[in-house]
Amino acid sequence: MSAASPVSIFGFLARRSIANAIRLRLRRLKEPRYLIGLVFGIFYFVTMFLRPTRSGRGPHGIPAMPVEWTETLLLFGACAVAMLVLVSWLLRSGEQALKLSEAEVQALFPAPLSARSILHYALLRTQLALLFSSLIVTLVLRRNFSWSGLRMTVAFWVILSVLQFHFQALGFTKARWRERPAGQRRILFGLTFAIVLGLVALVGVGLSGALQVVWGAVRHGHLSRLPSLEGVEPAMASTPVGAATLWVLWPIRIVLRPLIVPDLQGFLLALLPALGVLLLHYTWLARTAIRYEEATIEHAGRRAEQRLRRQGKTVGTHRAGAARAKVPFPLGSSGRPELAIIWKNLLAFGRIRLSRVALGLTLTFLASLAGSYLAVRTAPGFAGGILFAAGLVAVAALLIGPTITFTLRNDLRGDLEHASLLRQWPISPVRLVAAELAGPWLISTGIVWGGLAIAMALTSGSASALAQRGLSQDSLDAIGIETWAKFGKLFPVSLGLALAVPAIVALTLIVQNGTVLAFPAWFPPGRHKQSAGLETAGMRLISMLAISLLLLVALIPAAVLVVPLVIFGWSTLGLWTVPIAGLLTAAPVAAEVAGGVFILARLLERFDPSLELNA
């Protein structure tokens, strides 16, 4: 009896899995939330990806350009791919794993299949994923389906497949080298390192030569007369280093070429050698792929663990003993139970010690202060860069701090999965809710205040140094430094934001947790809900819109106070209006938050885990 063919097994699994996944999705549409989500999802998909293409687009939907340009583009693309491959030769460690799931390992490894058949199955499996990725890339770039789109998909698939085969075979090769005696191993790795480093240098020099040609064309205004770029390849070929670089890039250009060929005949002619390179890679992979079982089982286990972790399920952790012992702060057995909930939610964020974080922030603050002072005192020209960095730090903190609460879910949203347990705790619902929200609020506020403090340290350090040199930050413009992040401007704005943002973050948390508590069917509880599909994307859109709308409504009282202040106070107070506005925003929002905690506590009392969690 002949053994089962990997193609037939893969075909069966792919066919049944896809059909069942579609069947499950269709079954889910009986619930209105998924149906409405699907409508929104389709609307989003069509408006984002299937808009009509603009005129002037090239054969593959990307902007039309002359052949000379595409050739130059191909050359630079090949350089980028070459660098990626060479760096992976330097950095990638040897791994013998095939990318299979635990179910596949369990079903296929004891089955009457040869090791080669399992390898072929694993390769087919990745090809399907690569083909899907190529299709998505084509869709994003082209925004429609057509024959040229199909060509583009095939071209992308060949490129991705060659890279995938290359990296996998490289992992196998290095793993085999590691099994050799120590002396041989050292020679192999040493030689490889030297050769690859030489190739990196060669491609780097060749690339700089090519860039010089392009830069020359740009500098002399020849860019509008595109044929001047025709000279890139001949210019490279005229020098020994450039010619050697072109030889190194030759196989990569063969693989990339189908992507730029505009007509079908040319595409087919370019595809054949590209497939030849793919075949060579397959041969390399097939010859090196041996004894992959242990690594594959380990890899499948790791992937399953990562997946469980993404779904918020408890799994064994690989953290070292010392890292596991880290807690935010020592938790005594007596004292307020709220602290235990905050402690738990901070742990869910990460194993960090708050004392270390505070120390780190203080040291960073002092280093920023001293560093900026010393730098500007040495050379006032540094002031521009430092103030720019201060602005960046402030903006990053203001962006990351409030938005991190959308992804963290280390509060009631995450814990509602264990609602039965929450109800057993001897703590009133109001205190429970407040404690649950405190964890992410502390993290978010910490990021905002920490970022603003470091920005202030940078600006005040440079301001002091400038003052010692008899300059003011306002006089920076005079020495050719333009920046808005000057201490005099940044301080009142930061102060206002430091007052307002924590209150707004708390309000955001109330709204996000409230939506989950009130509408668990629409906004499912759980730490990291992983699901995919158009209907889920649509539901996420709807939830974002709903949360934004609720936040806008909640901010109306604050706006009623702040708008007259800005209208009447700006002319007198200038930027110092901002801290007062921050205070006027924080006060009504804080009152709303307090009310929100009570409402959330009532909702929590009424929350029925047996009904809501199975919805």
Partner: protein, 252 residues
């Protein structure tokens, strides 16, 4: 028949199984017992062809697992302790996949009979996340038995199964052995091993400590009236000793 000779399995700097030799005749059930980390799962994975051994030979039904893996695995069914199923395949799909992997001609009828035997009738269209732990275990066993294997390896087969299911599972194991299969059952449930196994192999720290029928084991342990549990606890709490009688005594 299963013949294992000089099996050695090592992971980097850890030797999981060392110099393990035993045989399981057709129609025989061998109980493989040992404390956690004794090397049971590594042994079973090597026997199932999931992991390549570092040394030693394994022959299943006369086929050498190293030189004729496809021929050997065709006779084999391995039921792991933790069932891992395909998320988007139904119970019927899992059986169909097994039928294709093992080239089973009358899979539909056999599948129906197995589902009935394992009390999964009516669950044909269910997905894994709709099944209990015990049902998943039963499905894996149904998939394994579909091709009527000559060599059957059970790793903790009763985990998550209810008392009625346990009784029927024991009957299934014994029935398969009586039909001529060589069966290995690895379990921490020593009363199960005592009840259904013809012989017992005790592993500790990767080495065979004792092997034989319960009476032979009692004799080797020097205590005629001890239960398997008492012997197990006594012999696994001391450093491993070479197996009494080795391969010659292990095979009847």
């Amino acid at each position: 028949m299963i013949v294992v000779d000089g099996l050695l399995k090592a992971y980097r700097d850890l030797t999981a199984v060392s110099d393990l030799s035993f045989q399981v005749a057709s129609g025989e059930v061998l109980g493989l017992v040992g404390p956690n980390g004794a090397g049971k799962t590594s042994t079973l994975r090597c026997l199932a062809g999931i992991l390549p051994p570092n040394a030693g030979t394994i022959r299943l039904g006369g086929h050498d697992l190293a030189t004729d893996p496809v021929g050997a695995k065709r006779l084999l069914a391995f039921m792991p302790d933790e069932p891992k199923l395909f998320e988007y395949l139904t119970v019927s799909d899992h059986l169909a996949l097994s039928a294709r992997l093992y080239q089973v001609p009358d899979a539909a009828a056999r599948g129906r009979a197995l589902l009935e035997e394992l009390e999964l009738t009516g669950k044909e269209s269910a997905f894994p996340n709709e099944l209990s732990r015990g049902m998943k275990q039963k499905l894996v066993i149904a998939c394994g038995l579909l091709h009527d294997p000559e060599v059957i390896i059970f790793d903790e087969p009763l985990t998550g199964i209810d008392p009625g299911g346990i009784k029927r599972m024991k009957q299934t194991i014994v029935r398969r052995a009586k039909a001529g299969a060589s069966v290995i059952v690895s379990s921490h449930l020593l009363h199960l091993v005592e009840e259904i196994c013809d012989r017992v192999l005790i592993l500790a720290a990767g080495r065979m400590v004792l092997v034989g029928t319960l009476d032979e084991i009692r004799r080797q342990a020097g205590q005629a009236d001890e239960s398997l549990e008492e012997i197990f606890l006594r012999v696994t709490e001391r450093p491993a000793v070479p197996a009494a009688g080795g391969l010659a005594q292990a095979s009847r």
